[in-house]
Structures are given as C-alpha cells and as structure tokens.
Symmetry: C2
Subunit: 331 residues, 2 copies
C-alpha cells in the first residue's frame, strides 16, 4: 500500500523577533523536527544574515539523510515588499529599504521567501492551527511590535504593495503618544510589551501597594511586560489595572477589525498576545461593548495554539507552499 | 459585421437613501437610460416596497419594446445577510431582521438581489467609474450613514456573514458621543450629515460672526450639512472650521483604512463625501499625517465620478453580473 510519507523532504523556516532568530526544520506536514534560537548581536541586517547562516548550518548538521528543500522561508519585522524581497521599513529595528532576500540568498546559497512575521503567523494558524475550515482569519501578533496577518477566502490579504495589516499603527487615541511612524496614539504605543512596561514604571512612581516592587527590587529598568503579567496572575491590583487598560485599547482596535473585516476568527499571538485568559477576558468584554452585534456574532477571539512557533512554522509554510516546485525543479 | 449591442436588454437598479428611492434602468453597459426618484413616506419596509413597486412601474412605462431583465438590484442601508436577503439591522431607519428580498420579490414579481448600498457603490466605481484596472478599491459613502464597500482582487469583500465594511462604526474617540449601535465615538457620530449639522448648531450658539445666521435666519432647525458646505465655500470661517474638523475625523478613519487594507484607491461618495476639494484637501492632509508612508505611497483618494448615481448604477450591476443567466433562463 502506498502512503504519503511527510518525512521525505524537510523545510526551513525562520522568524526574527527582538534581536533573535527562531529557526526550525519541519517535515512536509509542518511538524517541527529540529529547532534552535540564535541571537542577533548588534541588530543590523548584516549580523542578522550571519546569525541566520550559522543557525541554519547547526540545524542542518542535526538532520540525517533526509532531503532539505533548497529554500528558506523568513518572517521578519516591518513592511516587506514581497515581490522584490525588500524590507521597506522596520521601525522597531530601524531597518529601511534593506534588500533582505538578496542578502540571504547570497549568503546561504538558497532561495529565500521574505514576508512580514505576522503574515506568516496567519498562514501557520490557517494551515496548522486548530482552525480547520476557517476562511476568514486574522492573526494579531503583539510583542515589541503589533501587526496583523489577514486571511481572506483562505489566502493572505496583501493589498496594493503587500503592506496590508498594519494594525499596530491604527489610531486609538487621536492625541495620544507620538509613534516613530509619525502618527499619534498608535495602538502599538499603547499595548506593545514596551508600552506595558512603561505604563507600569509610571504607575510604580505613584504607588507602594504592589508586589511589583518586590519582583524588581529597586530596579525600575527591570520591569517587563512579563513581570507585569506575572504580578497580575498573582492578584496584584496595580498590575491587573495595567493589563485591563491594555485589554481596553486592544479591544477598541479589535472591535474595529470586527466591523471592518467581519472575520470568523481572531487569533492572538506574540509574547503579549499569547498570555491567555488574564488578557483575553477583559479584551473580549471590551470588544462586546464596541463591535456591532451582527458581525460580532460570526467572530470568535482566541489565543494561538501554536504559541511561539506560529512565526517559525508559518515561515516554513512559505517553503511548503512551493514544495513540489522545489522538489522537481531542474538544476 | 456583428457588434455587441448594449441595448438588447436593460437592467433595473434601486438605491434607498434618506427615505427616498433612486431607481434607474440601465443598458448592458450600465449606462442610465431612465431614472426616477420616489419618496418613501413613512420609512417602514412595507411603504418602501410599495414606493419601489410604483417607481418601477413608472420607469417601465417609459421603455419601448426593449427587454427588461426580470430582476432588480437593491442597495439598501444597514447590515444585509446577502445569502438570505435579510436586512439584519439598519439603525438609521430602525429596521431589524426585515426579509426584504422576499417582500420585494412577492410585490414586484421578479427576482431581487439585496446588498448594502455602499457595497453596490463600490461595484459601480469598480465597473463603471474612471478606475479601469484597479483591483483594490474602497468606496466610502458618507451621508446619513457612513459605510465602506471594499473591493479586493476585483471582488466585493464580504466577510463571514457579509457585514464587512462598517466603517461608520469604527471608534475614533473612545469617550466620544454615544452611537445607536451601543459604541462610543463612532465615526458616523462625527462626520455624517446629521453630525455636521449638529456641530454647526452647537457653534452657532457661541458665535455671531458667521453667514450661517443669514442663511438660516432664526431657524437653527434648518441647518443641514449642505448649508454648512455652502457657507464654507463662501469663505465663512466658522463653517470652514466645522468642515476641517469633519475632515480630521474622517482622516483618522481613512489613515486606518490605508494601514489595514493598503488600497490603490479610496473613492468618497454619498451626499457629504462627494462635496469635493473643500473636504478632500484637509482630509488628504490629515491622512498624510497619520497613515504609514509605504502603504500610503500606493493609495490615491478621490471623489466619486458617478456622483449620486454610484448607488443606483451599482445596484443595477447586481443584475448585470447575472445578465446571461437571466436572459437564457428557462421559464
């Protein structure tokens, strides 16, 4: 009897986040077989490519005789011109007009497919999450940056120059804090990991009644979103207040997403997005207060089931989508 | 020589707005041959159907021996379940769960296709505007209500239950005025014709230095958006201030649309949207201040070239899309 063997070929995928690559080798079913995290020491494109090359070499050495498809999928920060493989603008890492595909192909000696990391996250949720049969899905990644990958009729929604989904830069407070993008009151300035930590720092100056002091000692610089979530999980009311504010801002944005895109499913991912109930519960309440009832009746909001692997698996998916071409290409 | 004759069959389309039907008969090229406006006296669904029937009869009597396709396309207010032909919720006219397709088909004795009026407006701009070759287009209709019709890859973006595009209910001011939808600070509460008139009324109480007083006499109830635009065109600074505020709020929403959908073209229509430069110029300035530069580089914002006919022509398009089925259907 003939049976599909998903291990006849393997795919490489890498996701860049917070000066670090997560790199995976998956089988044809997008199951992770090997993985590694590699730091990007100084955050420049050149260093990022070097770190990627080194990580891929290490991973490859762990693979036996199985064929690795001669390509790599990349989920990067920023606005990516997918057609040209150029990162047009990635504010978080201060990269502008970086011909990243060309750099990776030259260094690694294989084809590269470059897409924004939230877009590949959406692909991962569509293909490999618990979301079979869903055609209208929006993956929202919240960490250092905030962005959405939009799936419409089962395909990535790219827009005129492949930059649709910049949810982190929608205006939530018209007179809010200035954003590096030039706008005021962007969602990203209110709900990113950095924004959560900054808000905690501000509130800490005015309150002694919080276990945050115990968690960070006299080192306000040590506050991170993780620490705030940890304190909130332990019942700290100041930390809970910060999470609730975050949920409120995010709820405004997601209610807008419901009214505009009428999705079946919104999946939250990224370091902040995947925190679970403590964020999800007040967030869903805010969305219910703001979204129109009819479109909302079609929408569920959940936390990623792929966790930190959404980006890496989604990046590998860019290769898997082209697997047959890559396997049978003449060389 | 054989040549396509666009007048071999005709299509019926009707758009409902502000207690009035605009009804047209077009040829197969969607050129309007006959048109009529019919008031809907008390604004109930039953009266609306009666007025529609009467208007269609009048129009048909103007047609000679040409074949009229046995169907009518309808652009209505509100959230429409296109599959069932039910108007789920139309806040402006207080219609809820109205089986409108069924009612029209029973009364007019022909097939009916029911869609939100902004969605049919988008179809009209795509098919019959000056926008050949455009695949990513967003039509924004601003009048009593505010909504968007989204074209993606040349097709209407419907969403999970055909309610995508509710731009009028995105949150612009989180603590802004209460909207009948239950949310606070909805775009519609800030830029609709009613909102513009209300803001003018408010400012009029505090200022004598405006020609608005001369235009309306001692009758503040006579202020409409049209009067405000008229005063602004004549250089009245108070009226200009109101239009600029309107442009600012609308600019926040359209910058979000640019960041989320990355369209090639945004077309403004509806009684307020089609006012032209006096609104468009401050609006474009606000969008430039707020939208991300890269997606914005792909976007133009213009005023409808179809004017008040966008809705009616788009409604007829619903029939024209099915013309061959309707012409060759067995009866």
């Amino acid at each position: 009897m003939l049976k599909f063997n998903p291990n006849t070929a393997l795919a490489l995928g890498a996701r860049m986040r917070d000066h670090e690559w997560g790199i995976v080798i998956t089988n044809l079913n997008a199951q992770i077989l090997h993985q590694i995290n590699v730091p990007i020491t100084d955050g420049t494109p050149e260093t990022a490519v070097k770190a990627l090359k080194q990580g891929v070499a290490t991973l490859k050495s762990q693979v036996g005789r199985q064929k690795i498809l001669p390509a790599i999928g990349l989920g990067t920060p920023g606005l990516v011109d997918m057609h040209a493989g150029v990162i047009k603008t990635a504010v978080d890492v201060s990269w502008f007009d970086v011909p990243f595909r060309e750099m990776v192909e030259a260094s690694l000696g294989m084809k590269a497919f470059v897409t924004n990391r939230s877009k590949v996250g959406a692909l991962a949720e569509l293909w490999h999450g618990a979301n079979q049969g869903i055609k209208e899905l929006i993956y929202v990644s919240i960490g250092t940056g905030v962005a959405a990958g939009i799936i419409h009729e089962g395909k990535l929604f790219m827009g005129a120059n492949s930059s649709a989904g910049e949810l982190g830069h929608v205006t939530i407070l018209p007179d809010g804090p200035l954003c590096p993008c030039g706008n005021k009151g962007c969602l990203q300035q209110l709900v990113s990991g950095v924004a959560i930590a900054n808000r905690a720092r501000e509130k800490l100056r005015q309150s002694d009644d919080t276990i945050l002091h115990a968690l960070i000692g006299t080192h306000p610089e040590r506050i991170t979103a993780d620490v705030v979530f940890q304190a909130a999980e332990q019942g700290d009311s100041l930390a809970k207040e910060i999470i609730d504010e975050t949920a409120m801002y995010l709820g405004i944005a997601l209610a807008n997403v419901v009214n505009l895109f009428n999705p079946e499913l919104i999946v939250l991912g990224g370091p902040v997005g995947q925190k679970g109930e403590i964020l999800l519960e007040p967030l869903q309440a805010e969305v219910r207060r703001r979204a129109m009832a009819y479109p909302l009746s079609a929408t569920r909001i959940i936390t990623t089931v792929l966790g930190p692997n959404a980006g890496t698996v989604g990046a590998a998916t860019l290769v898997l989508q082209r697997a047959s071409d890559l396997l049978f290409e003449r060389t």
